[in-house]
Symmetry: C2
Subunit: 631 residues, 2 copies
């Protein structure tokens, strides 16, 4: 390979308009166009390779190039010898962006309010296209288009594609603004977080009086368990509809999925792809299956066993603390009762973290060809272990020890400890590290510039952000919500304050996630998602488990047992029958509630009908012309 792209970075907004308007060049190294993406090559790339790449990117599309604008980033005021000179700013003319929007198949609002695939010939009929079309494409879309064009160009240059950002994101911003800046994938995450938080409010409102008036009366949890069963079934169905509505208005619902190229890390013996006939690395599926079933699966099982072992140690500690407290019941031994749970919660978080890296390494090693397949295997591995690791002890306490007091206490400790740890690990710690680097850079710049000049010049800003950590997508954020959803839907009936805690956590989560994305990580590239993908399935599986668990808890409650004084068998049979009925009802509900709301369905059908009619008309016209030319 001639050169290696080490970084592909989305430029932060910095108040500039997202089109190709000219900017004055100044000593900060700002180019003659509005930069959208920064391309970083390794510093020892040869001159001719750079020249070749530059010409390929600048050459107009019709001549086989990308037809983009590109300029080398100036050294800036704080230039040092060790700085990499091979940083390039990439932008595009307004017309180029529009034709790119057509290429990637962007959907935009039409003058009649429906969403349609954008075409350049028809551009003036789109709603927000005024005059020269200023503000028609969001910055996230512009960056997505440029990334797409660069990727099609460098089909064989394997690179990782990270991004960075320094925009200010705060909870007052609407989901639509998040989408304009970060794209649909991020916006859907924040949309789901918001939806989940609002969905928890009724449960929290239901839980507070429960907690206040029935605290020690575990018999009363039956009503709460029934509420949970209904709640977790309904909110997920309704979320599908909200998500479809959002995705429709963002134009990602009816957009066709782009053809999936092999993922960057994929390697193998060169051969011909049976689908595209292109020469590319091939890797036999049988080998991958062997790696999955002979290495990954045993590894996961071993980890599950380890997790079980740790759980047993926790129960021993718990028993020891209890015996100490029984021998000498004082304030300090009372505090001691909570210590094992807290230690266990910390160990769980640490194990999750270590396992997370191991799973990523293993899935990478399994060598999946497509990003979607990689993601599915990673999510499956991580979910199974996290579920087991977090909830095994609770299931054990609930159904083997049948100790509802310990269950409620253990749930509270786990939930609170993991929330505190998470907030610390995912936002404050990286922020603190980043801030140190930031200060160093500002000090360096201030040596050469007048003090009081608060905004960093472009060259310094780019260099600073190129060093930031890469945001690895919404994976960990969804995983956290998944575990919270588990705590709330599985066992909240024995600890009604769980929903309140999760609501509080979610509110701070919005802040810390936004903070993290703006200040800690590189700005991520937009991802035109139409739904939350595999996570919908994960949450639905959890809700099925929640129905089973809550039914079992109801069957075990003394209140229900009182109805079957003589026969335990009768009680179990009734519980199982009702549980089967509820599960059946849940599946029927999935069919009864349409995934896409009626008014969106009509709009989609209308679009389809019109494109069919247009096709017919076109054919008829072609027929007429053909006959004319024959005559």
């Amino acid at each position: 390979m001639l050169f290696e792209i080490t970084n592909l970075i989305a430029v932060s907004a910095a108040g500039a308009p997202a089109d190709g308007t000219m900017q004055q060049s100044d000593d900060s190294g700002a180019p003659s166009f509005n930069p959208l993406v920064v391309l970083e090559l390794i510093s020892d790339t040869k001159e001719e390779a750079i020249a070749w790449l530059l010409s390929r990117i600048r050459t107009p599309q019709q001549a086989g190039g990308a037809g983009l604008l590109m300029e080398q980033l100036g050294p800036g005021v704080s230039a040092e010898h060790k700085d990499n000179p091979n940083l390039f700013l990439v932008g595009a003319s307004w017309e180029r962006l529009l034709s790119g929007a057509e290429d990637v198949g962007l959907f935009k609002e039409y003058s009649d309010g429906s969403m349609r695939g954008f075409t350049c010939t028809n551009k003036h009929n789109f709603k927000d296209f005024q005059g020269d079309g200023d503000g028609f494409l969001s910055m996230a879309e512009c960056q997505y288009i440029i990334k797409h064009e660069l990727e099609t160009l460098r089909a064989k240059d394997e690179t990782h594609v990270p991004g960075y950002s320094n925009a200010k994101l705060y909870p007052g911003k609407s989901i639509n603004e998040i989408r304009h800046y970060y794209g649909e994938g991020q916006a859907l995450y924040f949309g789901f977080l918001e939806y989940f938080t609002f969905a928890l409010v009724p449960m929290a409102l239901f839980g507070v009086p429960y907690y206040m008036f029935d605290w020690e009366d575990y018999d009363k949890y039956v009503a709460f368990a029934v509420f949970n069963v209904v709640w977790c079934t309904i909110i997920l169905e309704l979320w599908k509809r909200s998500s479809a509505t959002l995705a429709y208005h963002w134009g990602t619902l009816s957009r066709k999925k782009a053809f999936e190229e092999p993922r960057p890390g994929f390697h193998g013996v060169l051969g011909y792809n049976p689908v595209t006939d292109r020469e590319e690395p091939l890797y036999p599926n049988a080998k991958r299956q062997l790696r999955i079933y002979l290495v990954s699966l045993p590894f996961v099982l071993l980890c599950l066993y380890l997790s079980l072992y740790v759980m047993m140690i926790y129960f021993q500690m718990e028993g020891w603390a209890l015996s100490v407290h029984d021998q000498d019941p004082s304030f300090w031994t009372g505090v001691l009762l909570y210590i094992p749970s807290i230690i266990y919660a910390v160990v769980i978080e640490a194990m999750n973290l270590v396992y997370r890296y191991a799973a990523e390494f293993l899935t990478e090693w399994e060598n999946h060809r497509l990003e979607s397949s990689y993601q599915n295997h990673l999510v499956l591995k991580v979910l199974v272990f996290n579920f087991f690791n977090c909830f095994a002890s609770l299931f054990y306490i609930a159904f083997v020890m049948q100790d509802m007091v310990l269950l409620s206490q253990s749930l509270a400790t786990l939930l609170i400890t993991s929330q505190i740890l998470n907030q610390f690990m995912e936002a404050f710690l990286p922020y603190w590290l980043q801030r140190r680097r930031n200060k160093k850079m500002i000090r360096k710049v201030q040596k050469k510039r007048t003090p009081g000049d608060k905004e960093l010049p472009l060259a310094e800003q780019v260099r600073l952000e190129a060093d930031m950590s890469t945001y690895l997508g919404t994976f960990d954020d969804y995983l956290e919500l998944f575990l919270l959803f588990g705590y709330v839907s599985l066992f909240s009936c024995v600890y009604p304050l769980a929903a309140v805690l999760v609501v509080l956590n979610n509110v701070t989560e919005v802040y810390s996630d936004a903070f993290k994305m703006c200040h800690v990580f590189k700005r991520p590239f937009a991802d035109p998602a139409a739904n939350i993908g595999v996570w919908q399935l994960a949450f639905e599986t959890m809700s099925v488990i929640a129905v089973v668990t809550n039914c079992a808890l109801i069957g075990m409650s003394p209140q229900v047992k009182a109805y079957f004084p003589e026969s335990e068998t009768q009680l179990i049979l009734w519980t199982v029958a009702i549980e089967h009925g509820l599960l059946a009802f849940k599946f029927i509900l999935t069919f009864l509630i349409p995934d896409v709301p009626k008014h969106i369905q009509i709009k989609l059908a209308r679009l389809e009908f019109e494109s069919l009619e247009a096709l017919k008309k076109k054919k008829m016209l072609e027929g007429t012309e053909f006959r004319k030319s024959v005559q």
Copy 2:
């Protein structure tokens, strides 16, 4: 309305080639082209209306007509005054059929072995297109094209569209030949019947020695129940793959569904359709929901109650027969023991039949706009009742009475009686009625023609077949298979011969279905189906119920009970746990086994990739031309 089409009939093969080659006209009224469809108008249609219709059908497409060939059917040799003169034969030129194939979006095998959408400009690259393309389109496809063209023409003429046939269909014919003559919907039914029969063979082989050596030992049914659980999970998953393979090679898998027009029976106040902006009848959804929930649902519940009532009478009869046999055990009282079951089986069949008509009437009255919605509601109504009606008594015997001897005896009687009744009702009775009509017609013709001329002239054949009953699609055939699948998967472990009986039934079913379609009903129009639709879901639901039922049967068996001598609670908990594990495994399996085999997936991906590439190339060419024209 100017005229009313009373009949639209697919012409039977009669050995003629399915293209537009000329035929000599003779006194039998044969037209100058090969007729594909017969159109029947009511006999008092005005002359000018007929002339107008003829001109619309004959006018070339570019002038807004259908561009088809059409001729009035001659009176024939046996003409009588009361015969309807308004019978028209419709055909099309070869070119017209090809352009029609493009219009309806037919997929055909390409020269490289993949399946592609047919286009006239590209016709010579399709595999079976030799020279003038003789034999390229199957007769079923030609008829489907003409029906489609006639339907687009008469957008507002509401008619029912039946068909007829006198082709010879016998089991030696391959699924592909059935598809050529009857289209994909029929072929898939026969494909499924064949698959189901072969899938039953291992169960039958497993069942025979079981029946012979363990007959009176009901403890031993555990192994058979385990086998059933595995069997019903696997065969349905594998069928999806077979069905996808079949549909791919028939070109219906990747074919886009046509835009769905309102079904013929739909009525309402005239208004504007929000999707098409066309003026058409509108019917408020709220009204339909009211009809469904306030009339249909109570009716179904009432019928279920009635079915329960009949079941109770059956148990009383059973008890009475048993008491008679106990008082005086002779051969005749031994026979008497079987009488209640036989009567009950006959009553069940009668109730199913009556309910079937009631359900059709109710669903028609619910006034669904789309045929698919009508079908879903009809299938749901009929399935729920049939399932309850056929299996309620068996469930009662198995789980309330816990009498395995009675269960096996009852299952055998129900299965055998219903099979005999079905074969009689669906083939022999209609055949006998049809034969009488047939003989009458032949006698009439022979008065005027020389005897020994065995083939009927076209005019007589058309008139004869126009009077045949209409085949109502594969609905009743699938329903029968669904119930058989239920008998086999739910309770066959206590009566291992069930699979053998069903295999025998299926073999005769192939004959009787083929016989019925060829000799009893009008030839049905082709239906380009890609899968068995809602029936896949129905069979899968049945297999879930089968897992639950078999687990319960296993839990109840003395063999398993022996493992838990002291605690019934333990036994139930274990049974439930294993059942939950099996259900979870079933759902995981659904995700693990891809619905479309790998080699078909690659072919589909290749097609998609190529169309994307072609689009890109076309755009680039247009760009070049545009710049040239500007310069």
